[in-house]
Structures are given as C-alpha cells and as structure tokens.
Amino acid sequence: MFASRTSLRTADVVVRAAIVALALATGYIHYTLGGLLFTLNAVGYAVAAVSMIVPLALAVRFRWIVRIGLIGYAATAIVMWAVQGPYYSTAYVAKAIEVALIVLLAIDFARHDGSPIAVVRRELAAFTNLVARRGTAAAGA
C-alpha cells in the first residue's frame, strides 16, 4: 500500500515542499475569507497539498493527475477571480501565490512526467495492457 522510498533529488524536494507550502498558503487565505465557497476552496487546496506528498503507492503512481488537477484548480480560481473580483490586496497576494504554484507544478510535472503527450501515451498503453490482461484472464477462466 505504501510506496517504497524513491530517490528524490534535493531540487525535487525543494520544489515539492514549495508546492505544498504555496497550496496551503492560498488555502489558508481562502479559509480566512469565510463562507461556504471559500471554505470548500481551502479544503480543495489542503487535499491537493496532501496528495502531492502522501506516500501511498496509488498516489505516487498517479501523481501526474494530482499535478494536472492542481494546475487546473488554481487556474480556475484565477479565472473566476479575474471575472468577478474583488480586486484588493489580499486577493492579489492569493493570485500571485496561485501563479507561482502553477509554475512550480509545471516544473515538477516536467521533471517527473516529461511531456504531457508522452504521459497520455504511456497511460493509454498501460490501460490497453490492463484490458488485454483481463480479457486473457477471463478467456482462461
């Protein structure tokens, strides 16, 4: 269930720690704003931060989904804010954090997963293998 230790380089650890810190920071800012929407937003960032470091084998295997998901989540938050505001100091700080978060996630993705197209191909191949194996197992039963 738990993933075996992987040899993360110092730079990887720094990037990962920064991602977690930024996600928790913007989550905290949203939490302080009060109300259901902002609280849910904060919970989302907290869940994503944990998902970025939790040593579960499944989480490690699909960390690329967490990275993409968190990039989309932060980008959505920025777009929603750009559309409806409000534009004041705390909001600018939160959005700057989210922009930095997206940049670091993109770096982390590139370092660990490479090209998004390669990831899609790899996952499609893995899925095809899984289906083929299940088909063979069903035929043999």
């Binding site: 704003l33 009060g34 937003n41 919970v43 989302g44 960032y45 499944l58 959505t76 929603m80 409806q84």
Partner: protein, 129 residues
C-alpha cells in the same frame, strides 16, 4: 485499490466543483427595518456573521451621504452600491474587523442594490428619495 481510486477521484471532483462554483449557498438575509432616513445624514451598516444586519436603507436623493460601516467579522467585507442596471456607483474599501466611514456621492432618486464584493450573497437595498 479500486475503492481508494474511487475515493481519490471523488475528492478531486469535489475540489474542482468547489473551485468552479459561482456562489455559495448561504441563505439570503432577512429584511430589517430601513436604516437611517431620507435626511442625507450618515447611515449605519453592520456586517456580522457573513450578513448585513441592515438590508434596507433610505437616503436623500441628490445629497452626498456617509455610510458608517462596521465590519464585526474577521472575514473581509465592504459595501458596493450599484444602480438598477447593475452599473457600479460606489465601492467602499474592503476591511476586516474594522469600522470605516464611506463618503458616498449623491444618488439620483431610485432604488439601488448594495453588496459585499467579497461575498456577493451579502446584499441589501438603498432607496434614494
């Protein structure tokens, strides 16, 4: 393994839905008696528990007036006024746990809406007469 995958998937979905939703489901404030009067004097607006205590105000049309805004929440709030067409006519500074006085320019006779820009579910009406 499948259960864990499903759980992670549901958590991610919930998080994305939270980011995408446009407004919270907080109940609308109940109407309270109008604050202030049509004298052009200052009116008081209190924000507490993510609601405006005063949801209806009456002011004198054609005269600038002041809003004594008391935000009793730790969460940031302000008072932003828009006319019937939705055009903004005034935006107060966003403050937390603080009292401020907004100087609002004269309003033409009519009904206006005021909201907190951070929490658009917080709203009320201003009648200029």
């Amino acid at each position: 393994m499948k259960r864990l995958t499903l759980t992670l998937g549901l958590l991610t979905l919930a998080a994305v839905l939270a980011a995408c939703s446009g407004a919270s489901a907080a109940p609308e404030s109940t109407t309270t008696p109008p604050a202030g009067g049509p004298s052009g004097a200052a009116v008081t607006v209190v924000a507490k528990d993510l609601k405006f205590v005063q949801t209806a105000m009456s002011v004198k049309s054609g005269s600038a007036f002041a809003i004594d805004f008391d935000n009793k929440d730790g969460a940031p709030h302000n008072v932003a006024i828009s006319d019937a067409s939705g055009a903004s006519v005034f935006k107060g500074e966003i403050v937390s746990s603080k009292q401020v006085t907004y100087q609002v320019p004269a309003l033409a006779a009519g009904t206006y809406k005021f909201i907190c820009e951070v929490h658009p579910d917080m709203k009320g009406t201003i009648t200029a007469q």
